[in-house]
Subunit: 200 residues, 2 copies
């Protein structure tokens, strides 16, 4: 019932206004981080009322995760190049290096805050990780159907760990933002061989 009301009310906001609001939330997130970000600040920055924000999004965690999700170009549902290597490279190519660097910094902050904010972790899982998993599962299923990956290959269960791990450790270990070139080499050197898939 509450859900139905929220859905009805949400329809009053235009997509342009929604995009503007998400952009403001991400700006604030970059400026002060998740823990210091307040709904008051979002309301002030976007000239909205707090009541509206709560009614539309339910809370800070949901608003932040929706904003992050909005900034992502997609989860690769539309990618289908005909090979696993092509699909994974295409996934990486969805974001240019500049966007990837900005996203990498944001994601680090949010990943950190998730550890002591249960509602953020829950929202992140539902809105970001589960859809991402869904996209990967489609890509892997097609690779299995084409005979590129054996259906019992144990690395399948770790596909997201491998992909996110490459992205997340680049800054930590090499003091450089993840780039398309880095991730593409990482896919060819690590992900495809682990899956036993063709690397060229």
């Amino acid at each position: 019932m509450a859900e139905a009301v929220a859905t009805t009310r949400r329809s009053r906001i235009t997509p342009e206004r929604e995009a503007e609001l998400y952009e403001a939330v991400l700006d604030l997130l970059r400026e002060v981080g998740y823990d210091a970000l307040t709904m008051d600040a979002v309301a002030a920055r976007t000239r909205s009322s707090k009541a509206t924000l709560y009614r539309q999004w339910g809370g800070k965690a949901e608003l932040v995760v929706k904003a992050l999700r909005h900034s992502k170009p997609g989860h690769g549902e539309d990618i289908d190049t005909g090979s696993l290597r092509g699909d994974l490279h295409a996934l990486v190519a969805m974001e240019d290096d500049c966007a990837m660097e900005r996203n990498s910094a944001l994601m680090r902050g949010v990943a950190m805050a998730m550890h002591h904010n249960d509602d953020l972790r829950k929202a992140f899982r539902e809105q970001m990780i589960d859809p991402e998993m869904g996209g990967f599962h489609q890509i892997i299923r097609r690779a299995i159907d084409r005979g590129e990956v054996r259906p019992d290959c144990p690395a399948i269960d770790f596909l997201l760990h491998m992909m996110v791990g490459g992205f997340a450790t680049r800054a930590l270990l090499d003091d450089q933002p993840p780039t398309q070139a880095f991730l593409t080499s990482y896919i060819d050197a690590v992900v495809l061989p682990a899956l036993g898939a063709p690397t060229s």
Copy 2:
């Protein structure tokens, strides 16, 4: 010259006192995080003078990284089981699950703080990542000598990304702390196949 003085002065502290001090630093780090941790708080908690702390460690970043390093059982320099799989499994077995969970939380906090603290990043690189790299290089060199890994295998360059990535993404993606069982499966499913090394 300053280095020589610091070394002389450091020798006045007993190993027991040093261990006690590092433990207090890690406790504070768990309680308040890196950014909110102050040398005043460390001095108060350990009944030291701030002057002593600065003289011995130079600053907060160095003190925190030394404390983290002290809490690690080692970098695997002494591991030599006769196979790459054995060596990587032995690395994982150096920390029990309880220690790993505690370390994982600490490392997340520090990894996060590194992104906006240049001195912390530098100290972490010199004291933690470089020695870790050294340990991995020895392990890989022996695997190459034994013919388990081809010297031109492209995954060699990503060994630390793979290992740290598995450790770091477990909590993020699965909402569970990394365990020996998880990391051992991950090594068998991802790291060894990527390196083209025997998985049994």
